[in-house]
């Protein structure tokens, strides 16, 4: 069975500080991976997707970047956090045969 793990569970960071969020998928080779951002009480905004190692496509510009250093790993980062980065970050992979997204538990980010 496939599992998706996000880390950390929560972060409290200062404006201007760097950030790195991670996501690991186990049990699925070459998954399509996605990063989503959710403002408190809001909908989900797709940030990035990656079809293969080393390739990441940006969907929306939020002064964030993403990388896929390994087949099973997806990293979201920035060098300087903004207040507007606060929210809930979700990683997901898609089972293309079923057209179903499977989400991680998310990382709650508070930027102060």
């Amino acid at each position: 069975a496939q599992t998706i793990h996000q880390w950390p569970v929560a972060e409290i960071k200062a404006v201007g500080s760097p950030l790195s969020l991670g996501c690991t998928i186990k049990g699925k080779s070459s998954p399509n991976l996605y990063w989503y951002w959710q403002a408190t009480g809001g909908t989900l905004q797709q940030l990035f997707y990656s079809i293969t190692v080393g390739q990441v496509e940006s969907v929306v510009q939020l002064n964030l970047s993403a990388s896929r250093p390994k087949d099973d790993q997806f990293i979201l980062s920035t060098e300087k956090l903004l207040l507007s980065h606060s929210g809930f970050y979700l990683c997901a992979w898609i089972d293309s045969s079923q057209n179903t997204l499977y989400f991680g538990a998310g990382t709650r980010l508070s930027v102060l």
Binding site: T43, Y49, Q98, N99, T100, L101, F103, G104, A105, R108
Partner: protein, 113 residues
């Protein structure tokens, strides 16, 4: 560009009631439609999806949804809700040839005992 609209921000019902959560979309091509549930502070969980065939699809926990091409809708229904169904429900659309999944604004369902 595809858009998804969930017209009800909040829906409140009592346990045992039936409920319908509405979803309307705008897209000209072939799409996948799906519903997800999010309990407070957690990630999303898949409920059901539609691509083609029977317009009424069954999902987990007694949920079903009906696709209507003429109305551009994909409403979610449950005949008898349980208090544990209280959550936020998201409708989502993805073009069959694309990677971008667009979510609606979400509907908060509250089920009272």
């Amino acid at each position: 560009t595809q858009t998804v609209s969930q017209s009800d921000a909040h829906v409140t019902v009592f346990e045992g009631d039936s409920v319908e959560l509405r979803c309307n979309y705008s897209y000209g091509g072939s799409i996948y439609l799906s519903w997800y549930i999010q309990h407070h502070g957690h990630g999303l969980q898949f409920l059901l999806k539609y691509y083609s065939g029977n317009p009424v699809v069954q999902g987990v926990n007694g949920f079903e949804a009906e696709f209507s091409k003429s109305d551009s809708s994909f409403h979610l229904r449950k005949a008898s809700v349980h208090w544990s169904d209280s959550a936020v429900y998201f409708c989502a659309v993805r073009p069959s040839s694309g990677q971008k999944l667009v979510f609606g604004q979400g509907t908060i369902l509250k089920v009272y005992l």
